[in-house]
Symmetry: D2
């Protein structure tokens, strides 16, 4: 009954085995090992993007912050949703890696920013002088932080606005695979064909130990990446242990399979929650996480029985029993029907 985060689960055995196999004799360090070449090739294939530049780092914070650093100047504003992880949960890592760029929040009623809200946030043409932050990149999270997933046309509409102003589009894809499985489209359709210039392609939350790929569809944006990664302390000397993870993750569609499992578990969870008279699903639960409002008394019962998840807006243990509090529940790749069903039976 572990729904706290897809960070709390294990790595997939295939990933672990690949790591063990990689610990074999001498190899070139710092990403010059043969496996990294293969990883880049495989990602280019999967995304139908033969020109893409691919680099690996170990954390999502690093992937997003380094990429935004490549895309924004210190006097720019980076435009993100009001729910964005980069704004709320990265301890100012984007500000650090951009040298002090500002995050400007765009209204996103259900987690997805709308074209209208983006237009408003950008201000009319000519409204910015050197007194103001300049137009930096737009960053979208896919799957969003609310659990909603942008459709490819929605991404394209936002990309069009950004590109018309000369802005680049970054995608925070910590849960990219879950969104892809939810939409059933191709990786290319959800990214560069919709206008995405650079993608942080997540592995950690979806069955890896700790690996994320910075994928630059516009290779010019990658020009500084090697310097920025080293300067940030994110270049692994025994880099083989990153490329081994990613290679296993991509092999035989493991990445999609694991996301499909997580999404299926979440769908089962959502169905069960919907059936409960006091539960209210807050946002569209399109992928592997769901926000649900429940009375405090229910939370208390669940948590005391050993369920594990985050209540976002109050203390579940203290206060009026009927007050509704919103919980975030996340299913990782290792969540099975049994775990969901045990939880739902507790819910009653």
């Amino acid at each position: 009954m572990h729904f706290a985060s897809d960070n709390a689960g294990p790595a997939h055995p295939s990933v672990i085995e690949a790591v063990a196999r990689a610990s074999d004799g001498y190899q070139r360090a710092y990403g010059a090992e043969a496996a990294m070449e293969r990883v880049q090739g495989r990602i280019r294939e999967i995304f139908e993007a033969p020109q893409a530049e691919v680099h690996l780092v170990a954390t999502g914070t690093a992937a997003n912050a380094l990429m935004l650093g490549c895309m924004a100047r210190p006097w720019d504003a980076v435009f993100c949703s009001e729910h964005a992880h980069v704004e709320h949960d990265e301890a100012n890592a984007p500000e650090f890696y951009t040298g002090g760029a500002k995050l400007s929040l765009v209204a996103a009623p259900d987690g997805r920013m709308t074209p209208e809200a983006l237009e408003r946030a950008l201000l009319p043409d000519g409204a910015r002088s050197f007194h103001n932050a300049q137009l930096g990149p737009l960053t979208l999270t896919q799957t969003t932080e609310t659990g909603a997933v942008y459709g490819a046309p929605e991404i394209a509409a936002l990309a069009e606005i950004a590109h018309a102003r000369g802005m680049k589009l970054h995608m925070d894809g910590a849960r990219f695979a879950n969104a892809l499985v939810a939409l059933g489209c191709s990786p290319a359709e959800m990214t560069w064909k919709a206008g995405v210039d650079a993608l942080a392609f997540g592995g950690t939350k979806n069955g890896c130990m700790g690996v994320e790929a910075a994928v630059f569809f516009d290779p010019a944006l990658a020009a500084e990446f090697a310097h920025r990664r080293k300067r940030g302390g994110h270049l692994f000397s025994k880099h083989r242990f990153l490329s081994a993870q990613m290679e296993a993750y991509l092999d035989a569609d493991l990445w999609r399979d694991l996301a499909a499992r997580a999404n299926a578990a979440c769908a089962r969870l959502v169905a069960g929650l919907r059936a409960h008279p006091e539960a209210e699903i807050v946002w569209p639960a399109d992928a592997n996480l769901v926000f649900v409002a429940l009375p405090r008394a229910v939370h208390r019962r669940l948590l005391e029985a050993g369920a594990d998840y985050h209540v976002m807006d109050g203390d579940p243990m203290q206060g009026a029993p009927e007050e509704r509090l919103t919980a975030r529940m996340v299913c990782d790749w290792s969540m099975d029907e049994d775990g969901v069903d045990r939880f739902l039976s507790l819910l009653g």
Copy 2:
């Protein structure tokens, strides 16, 4: 015959096995897993430092730069040896993490700075005003970049100078275990008993996949570490894969055994080199790396026969055959007698 770097070798099987075992079910993320508690306890024991604060990161660059960030203000000078890795091989990571502090180089004829050179670099008391960089920390590398090892009294003498000015002492211990084995003293004697306030305790070069411990003997220096680590993108969500490595590394003295192997291989290599009429050992080869000057013709022969090492000061393949060029040769934990002997037989 791989002497290019201790970064090019594999991880030890015990480390890999521990990582595989750690991938088991749900655990608290971000360092709150039980293993991290054990790692901190074990390091406190090993260093006889019950108050020490311990954090893990995946790279040495991150460990050193984050720690220097905790110890230096942006308008400070960090004092390091003229050979220091933090100055020459970190792509300005220390400057990045300190917010723009300066590295001031101290003369270090054989890789070890002398008390006289340090005094000179610090300037007389009162010579610094707000126009100048202020006194920040002193950082020493142990094992030094030249292969020489500071004795504990040498460290203490430098620490005394630093502490008299209110400066803190940081130790870059990427090859800490190799130095410890070389000196045969206790971890406490080589660190806090000699005045070291904070140590980057390396695992990666000595048999781990990628893990370094930031050990703050002065826990007040660690106050900002959690914020700085997260902001730098160095907090692992599946942190269990860092603590598992470190736990295995510390278990049953594995870390010392691996360093002893590397040092023994290097001693065998040095002995063989010394026996060669044209080889000249450049600096004291106290631990697991040696710098040796050899005629270009000899380098050429060795490299063409498959030996792998770095020539520091020229192109071994082009130029006068009798010109002497200096090579750096490093033995990692997995280098065995056989490898050394095959190389030495090539040397002739």
Copy 3:
């Protein structure tokens, strides 16, 4: 008919004369001149704050950004109004000087943030972990960017919320004198007695050439100022030309007299605008600036006749003549009745 900005007007003759007098022979450089001692003493008297630390810089951007740098750590959030100059018009200077802190916007319906909005923005106690930006200072602009002025009790209410969380309170006083004159209270009442820990006390907009005082009522906050100012390039070698301006500005209440003139001109302007059937005053015009909505046709007439002011939300020259656009009009110390009346007569 110049209402574009109080930056567009001249310096007061007394200030110019003082600058000329200061250019007399050799004096100690970098703020060690005798006049600076007198300036600090005079500010301590005026503010009834004998312990206050006072430093001068030449621009408001520098004063605010350097002070916020002293008050916020790089992983903090600085809380400011949604209208705040530091957010909108400083090209990321606060982010630069804080080393990458974030500005978090607080709702401020008429330019003044409310206690409720501040509480909401701060989140409940315990809701921030090391994943999040930490609580940095609160900054209030007085006179606000809308022209409204906080009453001293309003400041005190916000200060209380901030101090209860351990946050410090900074005041951006680019138009401090105008607010003081509007309220008719004492400098102490509007600052430290209401909980302000540090004030950027403006001179430039109110009759100086370019000088602002950083006034730290809590002198501990000033500990880093000298280093930060020098590092930022804001320490004048011929600092006497800053202290001379400030000394003349403070002498014989010149600063209050100039603000009173500006406020009186603005009151006359506002009265005239209110009398116009199509004008709508947007926010409380408490001091020396007013936002007024007028039909585009009216703007066009005024601007073509030579009036000078900024239209905020559209092109006054193109579009439907009846559409209302909001203008900002500012009266500086040198605006006289005549200028206002000529403008009003144009308005008709």
Copy 4:
């Protein structure tokens, strides 16, 4: 007898008068005033550089640090002389404005770096990878910090080395006019014709209140300047008071006349010093400053009699009377024969 610094003297009356004249009615703010246009035009004429981009700031620290920020990336090394002001006396301002670039010191026996020393510092081609700081700009100080002046061919030789590596050449011209007068060449010959890409052209030390021109002979290097200046807090709202100073300074060759006065005073001082049996001139005193070694007893006598200058390497008041200590003596534009002669008569 004031030889402490050319920062301690007054501004020239013509500069003060121009400032007073500029305080006249409403003008466009932030550098859009008409005088700034004229200043740029005049500098283009003087330097025979019709394409040069010119901006003004109030301090030399700001001018140099902002320009280096435009020319260096955060992972670069900026190469400067071992005596450089930017290294020793700017409290890490260059590191701040470059976002953490490193200053790499080049040997400069008499204050002027030699081509050989520069070549050595740059390392051979191909010796830098992404582990290392990259090649950023070269910065030369003219007049150097020792008082020696580079000849135009010396500058050209260093420029050639830099340009061959793709590096740009910055000149710190805090005492540019003094060097120009000393060499008797044209401004163009000492700058862009010798390979200088950007010049910080000083006014403050040579008769202004506080103004320096950032002159970009390569206008592409100025692309970010407006954003960087505003972000640094160095854009004056009442910018007219900067342009008025610079306009007066350039008018009728005032800048050259003032430098000629300062150099003449210094030459008289040096001649007097040379005549003294115990004085030893340390470095070539080509312009308006001289370093001279004198016994402590002599320093003591001079200082007690009211002479004002800095002793660099010890306490003149305490220690062996015969020990020689080195003093720096600077003549500003307002130093006259009388002042020098009074000092020399004291010296005896």
